[in-house]
């Protein structure tokens, strides 16, 4: 889709959005509620008409066509099953419209019921199904027309966390099996990261970044992306100096929030005096009770006091108050057996450190 815009009054739901989605891709539109991702999906499905721009499917602009003429099908957030029809007839609905032969309807419905693991539930009414089963019926119904693209509008948001996980894995397996393009709308970054081939992060009607889950997590394009995907420590900073370092550049940044300078490597050369954002993910920080024995030049080291330890079994998250007052988040995996509980507790004096390569310069605010 190219330069798609859509306004409701003065509110710009979509602001000059251009995305290219490859055939067979599991593509996610990720963003907070109201970011325009659902409007974009509805524009692809044909329930909403953009004010400007084109949406092409296999090289053909589909905007002039009504929803029933588009080779895309949708799985709705609310399932949208037909309450007066049983599971079989719900899934057979598109085939009945095409007046397909009874024998072929039977075969196809059986095939797709098997795909979503619902064989044996043919005669149940939607009201008798659980949330997960309803969504499976909706998926089978959307796939039976063999669309070029399957649109999924937050399909798992009404389900509980455990079921969401297993259905997500199942969706991924279905995607691998049938190989059509999936466009998946979600506000849940962990869902998007875990199954997508690529993700577009949206906010306020704009696409902020398009990339693989890895790119989006490790190299966020803007402050918003860095904050929205996972957890992070993000500070405004000013470049003090920048020198070549191995294949990249080593910048020294003045970070007022940390009350000192830090070192970070970056591909680009940055002019001294440039204002930037600096981010480092909490799991990349090391937290220790004693200072490291040797401190190399590219290690950033701070001391502080544990303000709030949050133990959650497989890991602990520490909010560490640095000497200058800034709180920094650190996540430590518990990879070994702890007989006595975590070694670091509330009010302990600790040292937080990270290597220059683990930091990342997010957004050059002015250049």
């Amino acid at each position: 889709m190219k330069n798609v815009s859509r306004s409701y009054g003065t509110f710009k739901a979509l602001d000059d959005v251009s995305i290219e989605i490859r055939k067979g891709e599991f593509f996610s539109l990720l963003g907070p509620s109201g970011c325009g991702k659902t409007t974009l999906l509805r524009s692809i499905a044909g329930f909403d008409t953009p004010d400007e721009g084109v949406i092409e499917l296999d090289g053909r602009n589909i905007i002039p066509y009504p929803p029933e003429k588009r080779l895309v099908n949708t799985v709705f957030q609310s399932y949208a099953l037909f309450p007066h029809l049983n599971v079989f007839e719900n899934i057979a609905f598109p085939l009945r419209l095409k007046k397909e032969k009874e024998s072929s309807v039977r075969d196809k419905v059986a095939q797709y019921l098997k795909l979503v693991q619902l064989s044996g539930h043919e005669h149940k009414k939607p009201a008798m199904l659980s949330g997960g089963q309803k969504q499976r019926v909706a998926i089978a119904r959307a796939l039976i027309n063999e669309p070029s693209v399957l649109l999924l509008d937050e399909p798992l948001s009404a389900l509980d966390a455990k079921l969401r996980q297993s259905l997500l894995v199942e969706l991924d397996q279905i995607h691998d099996k049938i190989g059509i393009t999936f466009i998946y709308v979600t506000h849940d970054q962990s869902e998007a990261l875990s199954v997508s081939d690529r993700i577009a992060v949206m906010n306020e009607g704009k696409v902020l970044q398009t990339g693989t889950p890895y790119e989006i997590y490790e190299s966020p394009a803007t402050d918003f992306v860095a904050r929205f995907i996972g957890e992070t420590n993000l500070f405004p900073a000013t470049v003090v100096s920048c020198v070549p370092f191995e294949q990249t550049h080593m910048s020294t940044l003045q970070v007022d929030a940390l009350g000192s300078v830090i070192r970070v490597t970056d591909d680009d050369y940055l002019e001294a005096g440039t204002h930037v954002s600096f981010t480092v993910r909490p799991e990349k920080l090391k937290i220790t009770s004693h200072p490291p024995l040797t401190v190399s030049k590219d290690i950033n080291l701070f001391s502080g006091i544990v303000d709030e330890p949050i133990y959650s079994g497989f890991q602990s998250k520490y909010y560490v108050a640095l000497a200058c007052g800034t709180i920094i988040k650190v996540i430590q995996q518990h990879a070994t057996y702890m007989d006595e509980g975590p070694a670091i507790n509330w009010k302990d004096s600790v040292f937080v450190s990270w290597s220059a390569e683990d930091g990342y310069i997010v957004e050059v605010i002015d250049r």
């Binding site: 029933e68 309450p83 007066h84 419209l97 027309n145």
Partner: protein
């Protein structure tokens, strides 16, 4: 001790509410019992002498005018209910489906006939029909009944539509149905119970309406309530008692049958 006193109190309460229940039932149904009793009495005055079925014989074999009035009533009830159901369902679906200016005012306007006194509706209809020079008769009664039935059907269908998930229409379109197909295959089956109960309500309202019909009926278009009223002016005939019992019985039967029917529909949707 505690549990004992608790027991007596509940038993006491139960007796009291039973008494109230019986009193209410008596208050509601005693007049009907009286009518039913008199309908089996041989006497023409209001007293029970000996058991007789002669009023029933007269009702079924010697009351041509009554039966033609009943026929009028039935024809008007069924036709006006059917037309009102179609128009009101269409209106309810349209008001849900399309967003347009003045949407909420239409909703308020449509309830007017329900809250206005029947006398006013009757008089205004009469003035309107004479202004457009439409002769009073079955046609005018049919129009009047359709009009006052609309808001009731509209209300029942709208109540059903409130539970309707509009995204199922989008799903139908998405799966290849055009607008008309999604209406026929998705919307109407979902609101059918509402349409049916609206229709039944309309039939009942039309059958029992006296005031409005009184204003807009003409010669030869007497309905059953009008006929019964005209009979009473010459003294209450025991035939009416017999008719009352027949009506009570048939309405109860229909109501029970419909209840079961609507239940099966509700269960299947």
């Amino acid at each position: 001790m505690n549990s004992v006193s608790f027991d007596t109190r509940t038993r006491h309460g139960a007796t009291f509410s039973n008494v109230v229940l019986i009193l209410v039932i008596l208050f509601l149904f005693l007049p009907l019992f009286v009518i039913i009793t008199y309908s089996f009495s041989a006497s023409k005055s209001m007293e029970f002498t000996t058991f007789s079925l002669k009023w029933y014989t007269q009702l079924f074999f010697d009351s041509d005018e009554l039966w033609s009035a009943f026929l009028n009533s039935a024809v008007i009830a069924l036709s006006s209910a059917a037309v009102a159901t179609v128009i009101a369902s269409g209106a309810a679906i349209g008001i849900m489906w399309y967003r347009f200016k003045g949407r909420q005012y239409i909703q308020i306007l449509s309830f007017l006939p329900m809250v206005l006194p029947e006398v006013i509706i009757g008089i205004s209809m009469l003035i309107f029909f004479s202004a457009v020079r439409l002769p009073l008769g079955l046609i005018t009664i049919f129009i009047a009944h359709t009009t006052f039935n609309l808001p009731f059907v509209y209300l029942l269908v709208t109540a059903r539509l409130d539970e309707f998930d509009i995204s199922t229409v989008e799903a139908a379109r998405d799966l290849g149905a055009n607008e008309a197909q999604s209406l026929v295959k998705v919307v109407i089956p979902s609101i059918l119970p509402g349409m049916l109960s609206g229709f039944l309500m309309a039939v009942t309202m039309s059958l029992e309406d006296f005031v409005i019909t009184f204003f807009v009926s003409g010669p030869g278009s007497t309905t059953l309530p009008l006929y019964v009223y005209s009979m009473i002016r010459y003294g209450v005939s025991p035939v009416i008692n017999a008719l009352s019992f027949v009506l009570i019985l048939s309405i109860m039967l229909i109501a029970f049958a419909m209840r079961r029917f609507l239940k099966t529909i509700a269960a299947s949707s």
